[in-house]
Amino acid sequence: MLDFFEIIRRAMNGPYYPEKDYDLKVVVPKLRQIVKKYDIRFDSKEPVNLSDKLADDVFAAALELCEEVGCYCSDTSRVIKFTREELLEALRDAPSAPVFGEGADRRAMVGRKPDSDIKPWCFVGAGGATCSNTDVYVRLVEGYGRIPLANSVTCPNLKTINGMETVAGSPLEILACIRAIELGRAALRRAQRPGLPIMNSISTAVTDAAKIAGSEFGLRDSDCWLVGFAAEFKVSFQRLNEVAYILARGGQLIGESGPILGGYAGGPESMAVVTTAYHMFSILVLRASVHLTFPLGMRGWNTNQQLMWSQSLSTQAINRNSHMPHMWYTYCAAGPMTEMNLQEIASGMIVGVASGGNIEFGGVGAARNVDHLSPVEPRFATEVANAAAGVTRAEANDMAKRLLAKYESQLLDPPKGTPFQESHDWGSITPCQQYVDLVGKVKDELRGYGLKLP
């Protein structure tokens, strides 16, 4: 596989395009042409793609798209181009079972196939959501550490540091990043799982400097670092700086991408191609050992039929054609301690796992409302995801349809839910009886669909 120096050389010397021309004259026409060529059509009835041929066509289309458009470096306005042979070589050489964590929580993450009965890796927690202060932060992360089926955690975003708002690019950002990682580690030790990997690096970090500085206070090479593209197919020097640093210290990366439905990626069918293409760019440009995608709607969630179908299709396309582990991400519209939220989580986990994904879960209530998250939602997600291993795509499709019928009409006006402080006993970090009963009710409903929940 091409080495990182070659990626940087191409970022410095590749063909020059003004950004708007790359968007409108390179990516968009080529994407539309390729979607037409491979006859990829949206199925508005099913939340799960049921066609292996379509999944493979999407992968072939994505490979062609990568070859045609390359990846855009927004600092140099130059395109990092790849040949088909280089892309295929990268797919061949990508890691297949990267190992993360320490001690009792050290484990290999493997790529899964659609309909597989292999249990998914469960990367769970806040998913970029924000908590108001360090007290809430520590309790949340301890709660995540106490989720039995969690394989790695995603820590929240710290909104304040010593009573001051964390401002990106200021010294407060660096201080908050240092604090976030120190507290994250301490909280996982309190949970008796000090080896559990923190996989979202430091979500409080916006700049490369803050992420790198913060990491020196507790991130480990075995944690796996999250580095993302900008939509669509763009990468900045800040992100490549992070990659350079992580590779030099011997760490591993998750490459993340979040194409937007209705944006440059277009509709559900072309978005599946874009999402799949990111997998290849993740391997080469971000040097990833794992790829995570979260196709999103404009409102910040991805639990409707269109988005689930699209993500299901790209997840299958990737997992049928690449051995590198891939993660499915569900962002919900409804807030915590609502029936709708649990139904969205279940729907996302069942479809994602049946489509061959490992899972990341967080992002309750579109990760929008401060302190509107708790350890209950990710715990529920891990239980459903594990129970969904072995569920076929056809079965998952039926279950998701039943769940969508219950919540899809509420997506445009979802319930905000209850903040962590009001849904849990603050000392023991245990959920109130009302929340326990609600989870029990939705689990019973899922058992009725045939899901083998404990």
Binding site: T166, V167, A168, A176, T207, A230, G263, Y264
Partner: protein, 219 residues
Amino acid sequence: MSTDKKTLLNELQQAVIEGDGERAKVATQKCLDAGIAPLEAVEFGLRDGLKIVGDRFEKLELFLPDLMLAAEAGNQVMSVLEPIITAGGGESKSAGTVVIGTAKGDIHTIGKNILAMLLKLSGFQVYDLGADVPATTFLEEARKHKADVIAISALMTSTMPGQREVVRLLNDVHERESYEVLVGGAPVTQNWATEIGADGYSETASGGVALALKLVAKK
């Protein structure tokens, strides 16, 4: 309006909807040659076409690139019409002037781009300051363009304080009353907008346009 005129205006409208700038330019000239008043071409050809594009975007029948191409086609149409309108002592009606950008530290642009395009399609003069924009730049550009609205997007919780900073700066220089401040972005909420003293928040880009129209009308 005669059938011939209607046909010509429809052709102009269609070219705008399809984002075909060259065709839109030719269609505009044909409208003028047929005696259609420039303002009539703006109203029934350009603006109606842009409205259809906006509506179809809302229904996910068209996407961001289509908005951008339609806006480009609109610019081509105006390059023909504006000099004639100005020479005739008239002026093409603008819904208002907006400076828009993403908050300091934030490099995400899609949400901001969509709102900028929809504002353009709705007749606003839009100055897009791009990503990672310091509060001082928002202020300087708003002054320079005599803006009605300052629109600030933030996709990350850690960059939302950049929105507050713009409002603070406007207060500090005693120019808060000169501009309507709109905030948006995935993590932004009405509570946040209220807390920082912004004039409006919308969850969606189309809602942002409606809000901008309402606030400018109120000024």
